[in-house]
């Protein structure tokens, strides 16, 4: 009887862990060969190979930077959200960050505009 109970418990544990693994989002794709990574305290870790991230679980989102927390064999790293694709359920679109509209530089020697990010404080 004890053996049967132990086997049942083992099976339940395995099934639960499988179910949990299935619900945990993972990194499904990477656009470049390497990705810039940061430690949890936002210290730069340099570039890590894309293969280190593929299929690794996403542990969450860093509130301060909006970066993804990815659990890799070498530890938890933060990467830019747009640098990878994940199996996370598509969330509702977040509000775009405030950027100034590009203005044409009237001077022929001036550089072209591009969007300039970081609107002044208070203007989101």
């Amino acid at each position: 009887m004890k053996k049967i109970l132990s086997l049942g418990l083992l099976c339940t544990t395995i099934l639960l862990s499988q179910a949990q693994a299935a619900s945990t989002p993972t990194v499904s794709g990477v656009f470049e060969k390497t990705v810039h990574a940061f430690a949890e305290n936002h210290a730069p870790l340099g570039q890590i190979p894309a293969s280190d991230l593929l299929n690794q679980p996403v542990a969450g989102i860093d509130e301060e930077t909006g970066f993804l927390k990815v659990q890799t064999p070498k530890g938890l790293v933060l990467v830019a959200r747009a640098a990878v694709t994940t199996t996370m359920t598509a969330a509702a679109p977040r509000e775009t960050s405030c950027s100034y509209i590009g203005t044409l530089a009237a001077s022929g020697t001036g550089s072209s505009s591009g969007f300039a990010s970081n609107c002044k404080a208070g203007a989101r």
């Binding site: 470049e32 694709t85 509209i101 044409l104 009237a106 969007f115 609107c119």
Partner: protein, 573 residues
């Protein structure tokens, strides 16, 4: 001699006088016309959008150029999911990355095909021996030329220039003529999903290169994408917003004034891009100030032709435009497309050229200038010759006397009668213009333009009347007086300085109005000619540059001239 002077000025361009005048006057004309662009067209703005890879995009993507094909495919899929009308990709993928295959784009092409969305990939500049793109992009390539040296944007390329290469498959004999980005997109839409909106579309109507007209207003949806608070100019950026100072006619005057005095070269005088411009990283984000749950910004691309390219600081993919400054070429293509949507086949274009054989071809604008120049200088010479008292009386003298008497008679009528002529002229132009506007949203400002034209003409009339009144008693006084020197005589036939200047201004205003309404040639082409005519005014001055120049060339035929026109020595001093 005056004709020779014109030829030297026009074709030999000493000290770049002609080209420099064109460039600087192009700034002025851009400044006064840009506030009006698109305001009377319900379709302008709404049919075009630009998606750019810019500095913040690279930052957010944690990427550098060139982007990986995977990334490009991801972005193009986002664009296609929004159901755009068409897509032009302004990235030249002539060579394959070492670790990726262009076949990744096949899925994008398949999706575009299944959704009936025309898609094109940039091949580079025509005429630069650009190689064809590799499969699978070979069949969807399009040229991506920027402006030519004449500042015109080519739409179609002559078949001789864009001849099919020897290695081209024979089935491509039925291919359409090679086209530039904006026209390829426009043509594909007008012959498919937009066939009802383009009217009767004939490719031959678009052979002349386009002089792109620029607008200063942003797409109203741009405020969802980015903030407008960084430039004082952008206060007026949203069409029909802002107060009195944002009205297009007020903007036209203020910008024109600044451009006239060259102060538009300040860095601060920036203007936003006319087409809706979205960073690629923003496609999946909702708009600024929109409530949670709003659709992503990519939904703004629905039904528009999307031009996708780079807007990276200091990259070599931009064009310097008069008055507006540097513009990324992807925005240039988008703006050319907007011109096609706004004007159809009545777009502003380079004048056609007339072939004289042996490789000699002269533009219609030059021919038109030449004829006008002949008329002006002929009139000046006619007046000058028959003004001399010792010239035998005949038909010419009588004709000159009659013309002078009639013009004096007209100018001696009351001002209100005189004013009827410019009033009728301006009213006719305004009626024609407004009746051809698809919408009268900006009708008040358009009408005010003609009021301004009338005031300019009226001011000139007043000065001419004063000039005529002043010369009348002087003429009577000297009619039987002592012999005048040639210089004094010549001086008497000059208009007053202000009258001459006003006459030039009026002429400029009239030609500008006629050109905008009917001819639609580049305005800067003929401004040099008008300025040259200013020089004619001094041709009667004995010490003037023109007469000195003419006399220098005329020295050899001096004896002959002396026989025909007595006392010519004094005029050549």
């Amino acid at each position: 001699m005056m004709v020779m002077f014109w030829i030297v000025y026009k074709f030999f361009d000493p000290l770049s006088l002609e080209s420099a005048t064109k460039n600087s006057s192009a700034q002025f004309f851009s400044a006064i016309t840009a506030p009006f662009y698109g305001l009377s067209s319900p379709r302008s703005h709404q049919r075009v959008a630009v998606v750019t890879i810019n500095d913040p995009t690279l930052q957010q993507f944690d990427a550098a150029l060139p982007l990986s094909y995977q990334r490009q495919v991801f972005i193009l899929r986002q664009i296609l999911e929004a159901d755009p009308a068409a897509v032009f990709v302004d990235f030249r993928m002539a060579y394959e990355h070492t670790d990726e295959s262009l076949s990744l784009f096949q899925s994008v092409l398949d999706e575009a095909k299944s959704k009936h969305i025309p898609i094109f990939f940039a091949r580079g500049e025509e005429g630069q021996d650009q190689i064809h793109l590799l499969p699978p992009l070979r069949n969807v390539e399009s040229y991506s030329n920027a402006l030519e040296t004449s500042s015109a944007y080519p739409l179609l390329f002559e078949e001789g220039n864009a001849a099919l290469k020897e290695d081209e498959p024979s089935q491509e004999e039925t291919r359409k003529p090679e086209a530039n980005a904006a026209f390829d997109v426009y043509r594909s839409l007008c012959t498919s999903t937009w066939s009802g909106q383009c009217g009767s579309f004939h490719e031959d109507d678009f052979r002349r290169p386009m002089m792109i007209q620029w607008g200063l207003h942003v797409d109203p949806a741009q405020t969802q994408v980015s903030s407008l608070a960084n430039s004082p100019r952008n206060i007026c950026a949203v069409p029909f917003s802002g107060g009195f100072f944002c009205r297009s006619i007020v903007q036209s005057f203020t910008l024109g004034f600044r451009a006239f005095w060259g102060s538009s070269r300040d860095y601060e005088v920036g203007h936003a891009y006319y087409p809706l411009t979205i960073g690629a990283h923003q496609l999946g984000e909702r708009g600024l100030g929109t409530p949670a749950g709003s659709p992503p910004l990519s939904h703004l691309l629905k039904g528009r032709a999307v031009f996708y390219g780079t807007d990276i600081r200091d990259q070599h993919d931009d064009t310097v435009l008069p008055f507006l400054g540097r513009v990324p070429n992807v925005v240039l293509h988008a703006m050319a497309f907007d011109n096609l949507v706004t004007y159809g086949n009545h777009y502003f274009h380079e004048p056609s050229e007339v072939e004289f054989g042996h490789g000699v071809h002269i533009g219609q604008a030059e021919i038109c200038e030449f004829i006008l120049w002949l008329i002006f200088t002929g009139w000046m010479a006619f007046k000058f010759y028959y003004s001399h008292p010792e010239v035998p009386r005949g038909h010419g003298a009588k004709l000159r006397h009659d013309i002078r008497r009639k013009s004096r008679d007209f100018l001696s009528l009351s001002l209100s009668v005189n004013a009827l002529v410019p009033a009728i002229f301006c009213a006719a132009l305004a009626a024609f213009d407004l009746s051809h506007q698809p919408t009268l949203l900006n009708g008040m400002d358009e009408a005010l333009l003609y009021v301004c034209l009338f005031l300019v003409l009226l001011g000139t009339l007043v000065l001419l009347r004063r000039s005529a009144q002043r010369s009348q008693p002087e003429e009577a006084e000297h009619a039987h007086g002592p012999e005048e020197s040639e210089a004094e005589k010549a001086e008497k036939f000059r208009l007053g300085f202000w009258a001459h200047l006003a006459l030039l201004t009026s002429l400029t205003a009239i030609v500008f109005a006629l050109n905008e309404l009917f001819i639609q040639w580049p305005n800067a082409d003929w401004i040099g000619f008008i300025l040259l005519w200013l020089a004619v005014g001094e041709s009667c001055e004995s010490t003037g540059f023109v007469l000195t120049f003419v006399n220098f060339l005329n020295r050899r035929s001096h004896a002959l001239t002396s026989e025909r026109v007595p006392n010519s020595e004094s005029s050549s001093q």
